[in-house]
Subunit: 248 residues, 2 copies
């Protein structure tokens, strides 16, 4: 590596590579090599390695203790981005998703909601707010608006242990089709931070998602805040788009 | 809206809807309605609207000034997530992307890089670090590792004004194929914050992306930090995945 660059630049470069290795499961034992071994491996100084590890500690990805060394602090779970999936569906290999319903009710939605869901003015929708956890640890806060005919039967469903997606398909008697989604990184405000049990300002992965049934009808508008230290989105892209080469 | 819930919960709910409306271009004039009008529209109190607007101001999305009112502070640009695209390609409607090359050179990569790029140990790669801007404002910091045969010709290319993707296709004489990507939300460390001109701790959208040529060979491994206040990722997902119903 180029030693003429600032140490901060070199530390960031090494932190990114280590972050990738942690996420791709290189350190199955949960323990990272010694600083001296990492310095040799990355062709840099111990000081630069130490600074790289400091960056990853600030992100909450690793812990560093005298005598114990450097250990992986928290697993980051991959949410599939290759297919429209509910949280329990996409994380089923990683443990149990449970949902705490914070509020649920029939509301007259603001025009912004009715418009996105294709509803006439004044048509009520079901509003649902859930704190979702994996293996008991908070993972996301989900705000959900559902059209009335598929949303109302959810009042009698087991929302604690089921994805809304799976329940919607049962209720509608047809599969979901497509969803449009927008992904952002935002800082947690004080109240959201308290709900998700993160420091104020922690980076969150924010998802706005409008989901349609297979017949094209929009039924489910969601605003999801994932803890940035617990979740990644993983998928693949193609250079030749589906739009340009549609499947028959 | 349910007035029995805490004001913070209601404010978050309204902030999300307003954020969506800002991103979807409702306020083309750059000016938001008065608090009283928003309170009527969202069926809530002025105090709750004020708290929702405070959340969006903290995110840097709006400005609030006495007498002037509430205005959209910064445009967020949508990066296409439906197709593998370079930055200038995906943002061409929004302005000019320019790139400042911070460093570029042939390096012996750490094993983590060589392994991802499918290279034998000791095989050099081209390392490229760029600060990318849209209309002169910093948008992302990109750390890029390229296999030597397609990377070395970039030393003579105009990297200031071109996407690497487009240049790679010219050099390789074939299109890119697919890319695997991982998306995360992270807080900016002090040095990265200075480079991207954001406050320390600002939420960044972090992308790790491994891109292959159309023949399947991995050629380009990137670590990209997008400013969370400037960029969103926008795409769509299908419930029936391509994997399960492959196109012939």
């Amino acid at each position: 590596m180029d030693e003429r660059r600032s140490r901060a630049d070199r530390a960031r470069q090494i932190a990114d590579l280590l972050r990738g290795e942690i996420m791709h499961g290189r350190f199955r034992t949960g323990r990272l090599p010694l600083e001296s071994a990492l310095a040799r491996e990355y062709g840099t100084s111990r000081n630069t390695v130490r600074q790289a590890l400091d960056l990853l500690r600030e992100e909450g990805l690793i812990d560093r203790c005298p005598r114990v060394g450097t250990t992986v602090a928290a697993e980051k779970y991959p949410h599939g981005l290759h297919r429209l999936l509910g949280l329990a569906e996409t994380l089923h290999e990683h443990g149990e998703v449970t949902n705490k319903v914070r509020t649920m009710g029939l509301i007259e939605p603001p025009p912004a909601v009715g418009h996105r869901l294709g509803l006439p003015p004044g048509e009520p929708v079901v509003y649902l707010e859930r704190l979702r956890s994996l293996n008991g640890l908070p993972l996301s806060l989900d705000l959900t608006y559902l059209v009335r005919d598929v949303g109302e039967p959810l009042f009698d469903a087991d929302l604690e242990r089921n994805d809304v997606f799976v329940l919607l398909e049962e209720i509608a008697g047809r599969p979901l089709g497509t969803a449009e989604l927008t992904l952002e990184a935002v800082n947690a405000d004080a109240h959201t931070a308290a709900v998700l049990d993160v420091p104020r300002g922690a980076a969150l992965l924010m998802v706005e998602r409008l989901t349609h049934l297979s017949d094209g009808r929009p039924v489910d508008l969601e605003f999801i805040r994932f803890r940035g230290d617990r979740l990644t989105m993983r998928g693949h892209l193609r250079r030749d788009s589906e739009e340009e080469h549609p499947c028959p």
